[in-house]
Each structure stands twice: as structure tokens, then as C-alpha cells.
């Protein structure tokens, strides 16, 4: 890129400086961050949390139970990434695409925000509750569409807004909406070169989920970058780990102590060395 810029003009031309490192990794806590796996890099992600801390000493404050998602995500090029995962919550398989639309930049091109699209499909593979009914495979599926809109205000402060649409093919009652609109807000405060504090909150707009209890998801995490790995130690009130779950099926309440402690571990492997390093 810099070569072509130099060739284009003999006079001093301003270069575009793209902002990078909005977040340590591809997740803020549970939700997607604006970061993609870099071109040619495969990220192996272990997302894991224990049971509720308010179950007390008998359950060792939740450590007797675990919910886990194993995931792989790959940067196909500098703007497109794909991922696959399997969570223990409802034995769910998921696949996603994540595409960069705009990149925050300064210089020749001035762009105040980075914007990406995230779309995922989740397939619940639990046994049918009632096998005598005519059950449809489509009833297992849920979709999530998100716009990730982020701005890095300073080297230590990033903010992200995440308008979200979750579609469920099957809901319980006529009053329940198949399309559920929500919005996420999240951010990162960098404490040092290796440490960041992240938080995120998903607000589900009212009167969409009627037949069951739910609560909005709120999570905080401490990110530790060890060089090769990123560890995220977090607290959340959400049991599910994938988007269609934790945004619309969170039942824990922070005020009642229904808090799960967990950690994400992500490790990047370089599969392809791109010529066009950015």
C-alpha cells in the first residue's frame, strides 16, 4: 500500500493511518468485538464459565459445574473472517461470518468509526422434548445479525455500539416475537500494556419475549495479554455463550447473585503469511 502511494505522486502525499487494536481479542467479553482474526491467522478460542457463585459452598460457589464453547475462527483476508463453534449450552453448533465495512482512520481518508457486520447461525441439537410431535429441523435454528460500530477514542479507551437482531424460527407463544431486537454497548479501558478492563451490556427492547423470564446480559472482564495468548477473566449473569443465547435467554440476575465466573482463552496460529501486511 505504501509503495503504490509513493508511486502515485511525487509530491508529499498524506497517507491513511488506520486505527488498530480496538480490543485485545475478537470478544469484548461474551459478545463480538470489532476485531477480526488477522489475515491468515486461525484463532482457537476456549470460552468457559462455571456455575452460579450464589449456589454457595456446597457447589463450591459454582465450580462444580461448567459451560463451555470451543471455537475456531479464521481471517480469510483482511476484511472477512469466518468461525465455527460448539457450546455445551443446548448442545449448540454455530457458524458465523464477520466482515469489515469501514475502518477508523486518519490522514488521507478520515473515518471516525469502524463498522463491521456479524452474522451467525446457531443449531441446537438437544433431543426433542416430545418425540411424538412432528418436529422440524428448522425449529432448532436461530440467527443473529449485528452491526459492530466502534470508535477508539484514545490508546486506552474504546467504545462499541452493537445493534442486534436475533431471529428464532420457533418461539413458544403467539405473543413472543420471532425477531428480537436488542442493542449492546461495550467498551475497553486499557490499564497497562498487558491489562485491559472490558464491560458490555445487551439491552433487549421490551414486549418481545413474553412467555418466559429473561434478564439483560451484563459482563465485565479483565483481559491479560501474555503475548501468545489472551486470557479474559470475567463475571457475567449469562449462562449461554453464543449470541442468540446470551442476548435473549439470560436468566440470572446480578442483584440476586446469579453470577457466573469464567474465562476465555484465545490463541492465534499463523496459517498463511499474507504479503499485504497491514
Amino acid at each position: 500500500m505504501s509503495i503504490s502511494a509513493q508511486e502515485d505522486t511525487t509530491s508529499v502525499k498524506e497517507e491513511t493511518k488506520y486505527t488498530s487494536s480496538f480490543f485485545e481479542t475478537t470478544r469484548i467479553v461474551l459478545g463480538q468485538s470489532i476485531e477480526n482474526p488477522e489475515h491468515g491467522k486461525l484463532i482457537f478460542l476456549i470460552q468457559h464459565h462455571f456455575g452460579r457463585v450464589n449456589t454457595g459452598i456446597y457447589e463450591f460457589f459454582g465450580l462444580d459445574q461448567a459451560t463451555i464453547r470451543l471455537g475456531l475462527e479464521y481471517g480469510i483476508n483482511k476484511w472477512l473472517a469466518v468461525g465455527l463453534g460448539r457450546s455445551s449450552y443446548r448442545k449448540t453448533y454455530d457458524g458465523f461470518v464477520k466482515a469489515k465495512i469501514l475502518r477508523q482512520s486518519k490522514g488521507a481518508r478520515n473515518m471516525p468509526l469502524s463498522v463491521s457486520y456479524f452474522g451467525s447461525i446457531a443449531i441446537n441439537t438437544l433431543k426433542w422434548e416430545n418425540e411424538e410431535l412432528e418436529n422440524y429441523f428448522s425449529s432448532r435454528m436461530a440467527y443473529t445479525h449485528q452491526l459492530l460500530i466502534a470508535r477508539k477514542f484514545s490508546p486506552s479507551l474504546t467504545f462499541q455500539l452493537t445493534p442486534t437482531l436475533v431471529h428464532k424460527n420457533l418461539v413458544r407463544t403467539i405473543e413472543d416475537k420471532n425477531d428480537i431486537f436488542a442493542t449492546g454497548v461495550g467498551g475497553r479501558v486499557r490499564l497497562s500494556k498487558k491489562l485491559s478492563l472490558n464491560a458490555e451490556y445487551f439491552y433487549v427492547f421490551p414486549n418481545q419475549i413474553v412467555s418466559r423470564d429473561y434478564d439483560n446480559s451484563f459482563s465485565i472482564s479483565l483481559d491479560i495479554d501474555t503475548g501468545g495468548h489472551v486470557f479474559q477473566l470475567f463475571f457475567t449473569n449469562s449462562n449461554p455463550i453464543i449470541e442468540s443465547g446470551f442476548i435473549t435467554e439470560t436468566t440470572g440476575k446480578w442483584t440476586s447473585g446469579d453470577i457466573y465466573f469464567g474465562f476465555n482463552i484465545s490463541r492465534a496460529f499463523t496459517l498463511v503469511y499474507p504479503n499485504d501486511v497491514w
Binding site: R52, N77, Y136, N239, D258
Partner: protein, 131 residues
């Protein structure tokens, strides 16, 4: 060169978007249980027994993790004696009702439906007999 890559990239991007949108719309349904299954079986909570009612629910939803051979968290639900001591021990009802302060069960799955819970409630209320 740079321009060609950019042009090519945006075409591929458009194609992928169109394919994904098409697929997404195709497999999108707006179903709900009430309309899809309009005649739900009525919930009969008479003649509830351990062997005929409760044990099959445990077998379908609990025993895969809580059997005598692999007792997650030390909890066993696949025989009467262990289940009875669990019921008497007071954590059972809170867990299967997914109440605050209890481990929501079955873990990672849908809560047992109202009818199953009503049957278990009836059985516990009758003293959780071995019948």
C-alpha cells in the same frame, strides 16, 4: 494492482452477501409452538407414581449426567433411594425450577415443561412414595 484487488474484493464481498442473505431468508421461519402444535395433550396429574411418571422424566432429562456410575456433583437420580434423599434434601425443587441461588437444571437445556414439573410436584406433595 491495488485497485484491481480492491475491485475484485468488493465483487466477491457482494456475491457472498447475496448468497448469505438468500440462504438466510430461505431458512427463516416464523413459527410458534401454540400455532404449530394447536392441540397440546392435557396435563394429567392424577395417578402420578414414581415408576410410571417420575422415573421416566429422570431418565429423559437427568440420568445422563446423574447416574450411579457417573454422578456429576455427587448427585444421583437414577434410583428411588438416591432421588428420595435428594428430594428430602431440599435442593432438588429449586434446581429443577431454576430458582435463584440454585444450579439451574437440567444444565444447558430447556427447563422441564410445566406439566412435568406439576407431576413431580404432585409426587413430592404425596410424600415422594416408592410406587
Amino acid at each position: 494492482m491495488e485497485h484491481q484487488i480492491t475491485k475484485h474484493g468488493s465483487r466477491v464481498f457482494l456475491a457472498i452477501l447475496i448468497i448469505l442473505t438468500g440462504w438466510g431468508l430461505n431458512s427463516c421461519y416464523y413459527d410458534n409452538v401454540e400455532e404449530l402444535y394447536p392441540n397440546p395433550p392435557t396435563c394429567d396429574t392424577t395417578n402420578v407414581t414414581y415408576s410410571g411418571t417420575v422415573a421416566p422424566i429422570m431418565a429423559a432429562s437427568c440420568n445422563s449426567c446423574h447416574s450411579t456410575t457417573s454422578a456429576s456433583g455427587g448427585i444421583i437420580t437414577d434410583n428411588y433411594d438416591d432421588l428420595k434423599s435428594l428430594v428430602d434434601g431440599d435442593r432438588f425443587w429449586g434446581a429443577i425450577n431454576q430458582q435463584s441461588g440454585y444450579s439451574p437444571m437440567p444444565q444447558g437445556a430447556e427447563k422441564l415443561n410445566d406439566c412435568k414439573l406439576a407431576k413431580i410436584d404432585t409426587w413430592i406433595y404425596a410424600g415422594a412414595p416408592n410406587n
